[in-house]
Structure formats: structure tokens, C-alpha cells
């Protein structure tokens, strides 16, 4: 059913600009019957809560980006919540998840504290990577969220390697590798599919097909637009699923995780989804029509699921409101926490570059700014010099980077309005 819906969402290839794409189940005038049976009340509620949290988090991230609290690029997953949560909800804690540069929500869905994700967006010391990774590089080893990656397709080989490590040790954990439609054109896609099939690795490849590789529509970037079939010639079979339907994603991914875990057969799941916002916050969206976005918004994964829970008596309007309010409180608190979290100290510039253990001594860098000079170098008083040089370098970042800890949010808003 979901697959049928997804099929219908495909539009014909067009010339310069892609035609408006129909959202799954929309436009044929018939009311679609619910695709899947609702899970138990607790699970249903959790699915909704997590999707609502991601939505609210992403909205806040966008807002704080506009206020320059978060820098760099910001890629929001608003609209893609069902694909994320449907997937993570059927993963075990010991399964690995690996994603792209659009993975705030994936980390949240794996249970990472929203405060730490937001602090990473702010580049602060309490961020998941201590401010070294930023929005595109969220990581949480404890929850086996093995990272967001800024190189399109770069995470596919890593996923195969993680799956290999599970297989090697005789463990039955599975790796779920999520990537976008654009990544299906990279060499890594072909290479990794081939070797995953060849070595029977316990991995599920999940392509979050939001119909655009940045601003290039799928008809303009992929010769084969049925991505579920794109790896067939490499030994990986695939299916399509309505990525706006959290239950359909759940059921499909659960089955494919089972296949990976029990049959050691890697597969590809193509989830049709849609991002309401641009590729990144700096996207003027000239490549698609407003109507197309609105059409997909009518199939909003959170609204649709919430309506159904209410209609089937699983949840009341008041409870839904509670969930929304709770997400709001959590995210507001995350933003406050991030804002109060200190900037990373300059002395930490070289931290985590190398692991210096018992096995390898000596020095690793020729740079005198290293706060830990190798033995024999102390006479150069490198630590003082290090600090001085780091200060001078940091000055190029301007006053934003030297913002003092605990600055009032109100001040920044005033500045913004004033400027």
C-alpha cells in the first residue's frame, strides 16, 4: 500500500525544472484508509513525541541560525521526521546508525540529549563533539549514533565497515545507513553495495529520497529514478516505502533489519520523504514551486499521525497539546543551555587530534602552538606562545566568537534588532 502510494508520488521527468511532485496518497480524491495497525499506546505516543521533538528542535535551530547563534551551514529535516523516527524506533540499542549532514533529528531519535545537540550547533564546549563538528557532524558513541557526515556518500563505506566489525566479532547488531538520493550517484554507492552484498554484511541501506540532491531534482540527477532498484545489479534488492508514514517506515525497516540480522542479507529501502525547508538555511528554493511544498505539507507526517491517534481514541486533543508543549519546553531549555555553554577554550585547539598512549611517544606536530610540546621542547616556552598565537588567530573570528559566557539572550536580540 505504502509502496503504491509512493509510486504515485513520482512525476515524469521534465526539462528545466521538475514538475510538482505529488505527495503520497494525495490528489486521487479518495480518502486513504490507514495503512498499518497502530502499535500499542505507549509506542504510538513515543513515536509522536519524538517526531514532535525533532520538528520543534529543527524550527528552533532555524530560528537560532537566523540569529547567528549557530554558524556554518544548517540543514533541517522538517518534513522528514517519519522516516527518521520510523527507522530508529525499530532499532536495538546495540545497532549502529550512521547518517548525513542532516542528522540533528537522527541523534535526537537515538536518545541524544537535545541540549548537547543544540550546543554543538552553537559550537560550544557541551556540544556532542565539543564544538569541533558543528551541525553537520553530530556524533554519540554511547547511543551508537555513529555520526553525521559532510561528504555526500562518505558514510556508506563507514557503514559497511561498522557492519563488518559486528560480523567479525560474531555479534548480531545491525548497521542502518541513511543517506540522500544524491548520494546514490556517488562512486561509494556502487562500491559499497557491491562489497556489502559480496560479504553478506548486516547492513540496511536507507535512502531518504526527498526528491532533490541539493537543488537538483531526481529526474535531473539520476538516470534511474526508482532508487530501490538502483543497486539491483550490484546484488542488493530494494523496496519503496512512504517515508511520510511513520508506521509504514517502521514496518518496512523492521523487516529489513530482521533480514540483515538473521539472514545476513543487506538490502536497500527507499523512503519517499520531503523537506519543507531548503537544502540548507541558505537556499532560495528557485528549483521548486510553493504549491509542491504545500502539497507535501498536507501529508505532514506529524499531523497525519496525530490525527489518527485522536480519531482512533488513542490520544485526546489535550494530550496532543501536552506533547507539543513538552517539546517546546525541552527545546527552549536546550537553546538556553547551548547559549550558556562556554566556548571551547583556546588551549583545547589541538585536543583529540591524536591519541597519545603508551605505545607511541614522541611528538606529533611541528606546530609550536601545540599546548603539549614534546619532551625537550619546553625551553621554547611553547605554552605561552601557544596561547598568544591562538588568541591572535581567534581574534579573526570577531566579537561573536569572543562572546562572554552567560551573556543574556536579550542582549543579542537587541543587537539584532538594532542592526
Amino acid at each position: 500500500m505504502a509502496e503504491k502510494q509512493a509510486q504515485r508520488s513520482k512525476s515524469k521527468p521534465s526539462g528545466k525544472r521538475a514538475e510538482g511532485r505529488k505527495a503520497p496518497g494525495d490528489g486521487d480524491g479518495t480518502a486513504e484508509a490507514p495503512a498499518s495497525k497502530l502499535p500499542d499506546e505507549k509506542t504510538s505516543r513515543e513515536l509522536l513525541e519524538t517526531m514532535a521533538l525533532i520538528r520543534r528542535f529543527e524550527e528552533e535551530a532555524g530560528r537560532q541560525y537566523q540569529r547567528a547563534k549557530a554558524g556554518g551551514f544548517l540543514h533541517l529535516a522538517i518534513g522528514e521526521e517519519a522516516t527518521i523516527v520510523g527507522t530508529t524506533s525499530v532499532m536495538r540499542p546495540d545497532d549502529y546508525l550512521i547518517g548525513t549532514y542532516r542528522t540533528h533529528g537522527h541523534a535526537l531519535a537515538r536518545g541524544t540529549d537535545p541540549k548537547r545537540v543544540m550546543a554543538e550547533l552553537y559550537g560550544r564546549i557541551d556540544g556532542t563533539s565539543g564544538g569541533r563538528g558543528g551541525s553537520m557532524h553530530i556524533f554519540d558513541l554511547e547511543r551508537r549514533f555513529m555520526g553525521g557526515y559532510g561528504i555526500v556518500g562518505g558514510n556508506l563505506p563507514l557503514a559497511a565497515g561498522l557492519a563488518l566489525s559486528s560480523d567479525y566479532r560474531g555479534e548480531d547488531s545491525v548497521t542502518v545507513c541513511m543517506f540522500g538520493d544524491g548520494a546514490s550517484n556517488t562512486g561509494n554507492f556502487g562500491e559499497t553495495m557491491n562489497i556489502a552484498a559480496l560479504w553478506s554484511l548486516p547492513v540496511v541501506f536507507l535512502v531518504e529520497n526527498n526528491l532533490y540532491g541539493m537543488g537538483t531534482s531526481i529526474e535531473r540527477h539520476s538516470a534511474v529514478t526508482d532508487l530501490s532498484r538502483k543497486a539491483e545489479g550490484l546484488g542488493i534488492s530494494g523496496v519503496r516505502v512512504d517515508g511520510m508514514d511513520v508506521l509504514a517506515v517502521r514496518e518496512t525497516v523492521a523487516e529489513h533489519i530482521r533480514t540483515a540480522r538473521e539472514d545476513r542479507t543487506p538490502t536497500l529501502v527507499e523512503a519517499f520523504t520531503y523537506r519543507y525547508r531548503g537544502h540548507s538555511a541558505a537556499d532560495p528554493e528557485v528549483y521548486r514551486e510553493k504549491e509542491e511544498v504545500q502539497e507535501w505539507q498536507r501529508k505532514d507526517p506529524i499531523e497525519t499521525f496525530a490525527r489518527r491517534l485522536i480519531e482512533e481514541g488513542t490520544m485526546s486533543e489535550a494530550e496532543l497539546e501536552e506533547i507539543r508543549e513538552h517539546a517546546d519546553v525541552v527545546v527552549t531549555e536546550a537553546a538556553r543551555f547551548a547559549d550558556e555553554s562556554p566556548e571551547p577554550p583556546l588551549a583545547s585547539l589541538y585536543d583529540h587530534l591524536y591519541v597519545v598512549g603508551d605505545q607511541v611517544k614522541g611528538w606529533y606536530t611541528v606546530d609550536e602552538r601545540s599546548p603539549d610540546p614534546h619532551p625537550g621542547e619546553q625551553e621554547r616556552e611553547a605554552p605561552d606562545r601557544a596561547h598568544e598565537l591562538a588568541e591572535r588567530g581567534a581574534a579573526y573570528a570577531g566579537p561573536e566568537a569572543s562572546r562572554t559566557v552567560g551573556e543574556e539572550i536579550g542582549d543579542a536580540e537587541d543587537e539584532e534588532e538594532g542592526g
Partner: protein, 326 residues
């Protein structure tokens, strides 16, 4: 023992010592390595630990990174350094960056072995020297052994190290013989240069095959010019044992750097900068570099030899540093 046997022994010992060590690469198992370095390993350790891979360099290295993040200690073989260019995304954007960009949450204990260098008429896509390219990347360690003993000791250290290591071997050195310690725990430290010959007149620094070329030049300098050169083999470029080099330069007041790689932004360029920054007052002459020719490696034996530094070039460079002072 020949260098290929020394590397083989290093791999074997570490795989015997640690179950999490495994190797993969193109033609490393059934074919036993394109340079026969992995001979016998498949028989001893089986398909699980000695894996033939498809020709997919970026994915092989990326899988090594992923497996390392998953707690294993992969040794990935790239058939020649030129093919490593296909894997530069995984080497630079992933292996080197991951420990740092994820705030130290995860380690990447990965060794990427690759043979390079000219001399076998393999032409412009199989013969280059990319030490400088890897040396430039923060997050990587770079080893370039020139003797069988160093190759074994450094490889064992590389496998036990928690950082990603680029391990560069020289194709023409695989057959080189030398004494090798058969003690399984003989592990060399990274960041310790070897003084191959002591001398007082000029410091000659050579890497990989050029360490040997430097020694031959030193012999000629002594025999034909009464010049006593001190020959240093850094053995690892990151970490770099700059102290040993500076100490020598402070004694000889002259330095010559020999490498097979290209001149621009090369190992020699880097070392020359470090020496002049940190020992300027000790220098009696400009630092001299002897490098490979600034061309893709030609096929013709005559042209190839013309593109590779030889002892006589090193002798000339050393004598140039002594000009006017003798």
C-alpha cells in the same frame, strides 16, 4: 631477511598477538599480494582475517575506518600509492578528521599500507612518492621505513597505535636484505630518527630509498672528497624527530635533504623550513634539497633514472653547502 619478509613477519606476529587485527586489500589473499608481501597469511589466518577486496579503494579504506570505529584494528593494503588518490576522501575527510571532529569520542586505529616510488619502469600512474601529501594532513601518522628491521618494527608499532597510520613502502626495497629482530615484542617507536652514519661536516637527511642513496653519497664524499657526512633517516615523518636533525645540524652547520618526491611543497621543503626556522644561526650555508624531477614519472628507463635522485646528486649538493669554506 628481505623487507617483504620482514613486513610479512610483522603482520603475522601482530595478527597472532591480537584477534582484532585483520587485513584487507586488492589481491592480498589468494594472490598473496602484488609484491608477495602477504604470502602465506591467508593459509594461516583464513578468509575472515585476510580478505581480498574488489577494486574499490575509497570504500576499502572507508570500511577500514568504519571497522576501526567498531573496535577492530584493520590493516588495509593499497596496491600502489597512486591508487591511494582514489581513497583520499576517506583518508583525509574521514580517517584523519573523525577523532577530532567528534571530540575524541571514537578512535580510528587503522593502518593503510602502500608501496610507491620509482625504479621499476611503471610509468606515470604507479611510481610516485606522496609522502609530502600525507605528511600535510593533521590527524595522520606517516611512516616511511628504509630497512627490513625498521619496516617490521614500525609496522608493529603502527598496528598497535590508536591513530590512523599511512605506512609507505618502497617498491624497490622489498628485496633489500637486512638483520631483523625476531623478537615478537620488538616494536619501534614512532618519532625516532636513525643516524645511519656519523659525521661532522654536513647533515644528509634521506627517506625511504633515498636513505640508502644518502649513505652511498656519504661514502663517496668520504672517499673522494674527505667530507664526513652525517646521514639521518627520519623513519617517520609524523611524528618527526626534529630534535635529532637539529642536533646534527648544530654540529655540522649544513644540511642536505634527499627525497624521491616532487620539489614543490615536498618533504625537503618542509624540513628546510623547519631547519631554517629553528637553527638559522647554526647554518653556514643554505639548506640544499635533492628531489625527484618535477614531472609525472616517465616510463623510459633512461628518463625514469633521470627523474630519480642518485648519489652523485647528493654529493654535489653536499659539496655546494661546503663551497667557500674548504
Amino acid at each position: 631477511m628481505r623487507m617483504r619478509e620482514a613486513i610479512n613477519a610483522g603482520l603475522r606476529e601482530e595478527m597472532e598477538r591480537d584477534e582484532t587485527v585483520f587485513m584487507m586489500g586488492e589481491d592480498v589473499a589468494v594472490f598473496q599480494g602484488s609484491f608477495k608481501v602477504t604470502e602465506g597469511l591467508l593459509d594461516q589466518f583464513g578468509e575472515k582475517r585476510v580478505r581480498d577486496t574488489p577494486i574499490s579503494e575509497n570504500t576499502i579504506v572507508g570500511m577500514g575506518v568504519g571497522a576501526a570505529m567498531g573496535g577492530l584494528r584493520p590493516v588495509v593494503e593499497i596496491m600502489t600509492v597512486n591508487f591511494a588518490l582514489l581513497a583520499m576522501d576517506q583518508i583525509v575527510n574521514h580517517a584523519a578528521a573523525i577523532p577530532y571532529m567528534f571530540g575524541g569520542q571514537v578512535r580510528v586505529p587503522l593502518v593503510i599500507r602502500m608501496p610507491g616510488g620509482g625504479g621499476h619502469q611503471l610509468g606515470p600512474t604507479h611510481s610516485h612518492s606522496f609522502e609530502a601529501m600525507f605528511l600535510q594532513i593533521p590527524g595522520l601518522l606517516v611512516a616511511c621505513p628504509s630497512t627490513p628491521a625498521d619496516a617490521k618494527g614500525l609496522l608493529k608499532a603502527a598496528i598497535r597505535d590508536d591513530n590512523p597510520v599511512i605506512f609507505i613502502e618502497h617498491e624497490t626495497l622489498y628485496g633489500a636484505r637486512g638483520e631483523v629482530d625476531d623478537d615478537g615484542d620488538h616494536v619501534l617507536e614512532f618519532g625516532r630518527a636513525a643516524i645511519r652514519r656519523e659525521g661532522t661536516d654536513v647533515t644528509v637527511i634521506g627517506i625511504l630509498r633515498m636513505a640508502e642513496t644518502a649513505q652511498r653519497a656519504a661514502t663517496a664524499l668520504a672517499n673522494e672528497h674527505a667530507v664526513e657526512a652525517e646521514v639521518i633517516d627520519p623513519r617517520t615523518l609524523r611524528p618527526l624527530d626534529l630534535d635529532t636533525i637539529l642536533e646534527s645540524v648544530r654540529k655540522t652547520n649544513r644540511a642536505v635533504i634527499v627525497e624521491e618526491g616532487w620539489p614543490h611543497g615536498g618533504v625537503g621543503a618542509n624540513l628546510a623550513a623547519l631547519i631554517q626556522e629553528q637553527a638559522f644561526d647554526d647554518l653556514d650555508a643554505p639548506v640544499q634539497r635533492v628531489t625527484g624531477a618535477d614531472v609525472p614519472m616517465p616510463y623510459s628507463k633512461r628518463l625514469e633514472q633521470a627523474a630519480i635522485p642518485h648519489a652523485e646528486h647528493v654529493v654535489s649538493a653536499a659539496l655546494a653547502t661546503l663551497e667557500g669554506s674548504r
